[in-house]
């Protein structure tokens, strides 16, 4: 591979970016960060997170007028502008499409590879983006139509990572 970069600076008679020649003494740097802490309210979706944490159950939001089922849940239907009602999901579904990831922010590097998927859940009218946990993940193992089912962590705190998906071997054999 040939890197062909800074030689071209002169072609357009453009000033070189100073960084090309500047040594580290020429600019001043220091470590810094931006941090804010929260007690975050999940507002109209509180019921979902309480059920997730306390009972390991997934609830979706069904429009009281048109019956469209939102998951992730929403307090209102944007088509009817009507309120939604809670309905429980079975947690079974199939892979719409998925990718096997080998890169991410530092907090995830020791967890790679991870599978991020679009999952069509039984009873929900939206497709959910979530992770599938499995050994030796390959694209072939998570191809379109692969049955999956929900699994819950033992220690739950009311976060999206309290649950994840695993291949549904029973459904695959049917």
């Amino acid at each position: 591979m040939k890197m062909d970069n800074d030689d071209n600076e002169d072609n357009l008679k453009m000033p070189k970016p100073a960084c090309v020649e500047a040594s580290e003494e020429d600019f001043f740097e220091y470590p810094d960060d931006m941090t804010v802490h929260y007690i975050y309210s999940e507002g109209e979706n509180s019921f979902f997170f309480k059920q997730l944490r306390d009972n390991a159950k997934l609830f979706a939001a069904k429009c009281s007028q048109c019956g469209f089922v939102y998951f992730p849940p929403r307090g209102h239907c944007f088509k009817c502008y009507a309120k939604t009602e809670w309905v429980e999901l079975t947690g079974k579904g199939y892979v719409e499409t998925a990718t096997v990831c080998h890169f991410g922010r530092s907090q995830f590097t020791d967890k790679m590879p991870i599978v991020i998927a679009f999952i069509k859940l039984e009873g929900a009218d939206m497709i959910l983006r979530h992770s599938i946990v499995m050994e030796d993940a390959t694209l072939e193992k998570v191809k379109h139509g692969t049955p999956v089912k929900v699994a819950f962590k033992d220690q739950r705190e009311g976060k999206v990572t309290d649950f994840y998906f695993v291949p549904d071997e029973d459904a695959a054999e049917e």
């Binding site: 939206m126 497709i127 992770s131 999206v160």
Partner: protein, 411 residues
Amino acid sequence: MLHTLEDGYHMAKRVAVIGIGAYPFRARHPELTYNGLAFETTKRALDDAGLTIEDVDSAVYGIYNDFFERQFMADCYVHDHIGMILKPGTRVTTGGATGGYAIRTAYAEVASGLSDIVLCLGVEKSGDCYDPETNERSPELVKAIAYSSDLTWVFPLGSYPAASYVLPVRAHIETFGNPTEESMARVSVKNHGNAIGNPYAQCPMQITVEDVLNSRYISEPFKKLDCCLYSEGAAAMVLASEEKVRELNVENPIWIAGIGAGNDSVDGGLREHLWSLTSNLRASQQCYAMAGIKDPLHEIDVAELHDAFSGQEILSYEDCRFAEYGEGHTLIDEGIVCEGGQMPVNLSGGLIGTGHAVGATGIYQGTEIIRQLRGQAIRQVHGAKRGFLHSVGGPLTAYCVCVIFENNEAR
């Protein structure tokens, strides 16, 4: 509803680009703050237009990420540093489509008569992000971007831009059986190669399809060389009304003949299908209707598409109607989008070859089209009259802006 020239756009003033400037896209510019980048680039665009900052009525700033700049509301500091005190200034932030939306906003200010001359300036840092525990920059930079994903539902999963953009491409592969990894690799080879000779480009490289196929997986099937790199850099345009173009006797104004935009559902869950980016179709259709374009492949001479990832460029051929659905890959496989082809795409190098200084990217792509239409491009398309800009971004590529630029020869 799609507007056409006939049903109302004649009410708007005609708008032209009369000056451009850019600052090279690099992994880092430690010698300049975002204010410094903004100043250097504003000066270049004003010099190109033969104007001073006194002539500018208002400014639109494309700045994407507050963590990148390590500053919220960075636009108000830029406004001060470039000498726009007491004049109107607005920031636009729409992810990777920030540049495109900044152009749209600047266009609207001139077209509506609010301003006669508007500066449209995109600036982005990013390389200052640093993880002190691992002594690495990229994963921390990716974390800064990940804060744009849904903090409740997506951020905790560990998703990141490549893992988002790859899902529509995967769905396309599972639906149509393409693009293959080889077709995607050809886009990477084309764009890295087009960047050779471009002084603004961060990643000019002479590589082969095998080099791409042998690079490591990032988010399958995307490999390292299928992905653009994040950059620091800036780009600017000066937009003016037709009256000003005449008054200033501008030699080669480049007109904005069409502009369209659309934002899709953010997380894919509500989309009609996953194998297409419907916002891209919507934005390009609206843009073509306004410009009176019926057959984009034959009526457009040169295009800059948002190729954050090679496979995404191929999907864009289809949503921008250069090809039928399922057939986008033929444009790269048959060389139609290569230099010398019917529709050269990303002769600048695109994001893959030039880099991605997010807030500046769409505006930089625009400056490349302007150079083509002025006959000043490095890889000049002979006699180019009409160019197309496609700017995409946001969670799961939700945002899209498309622009048609034309020179005086076009009509």
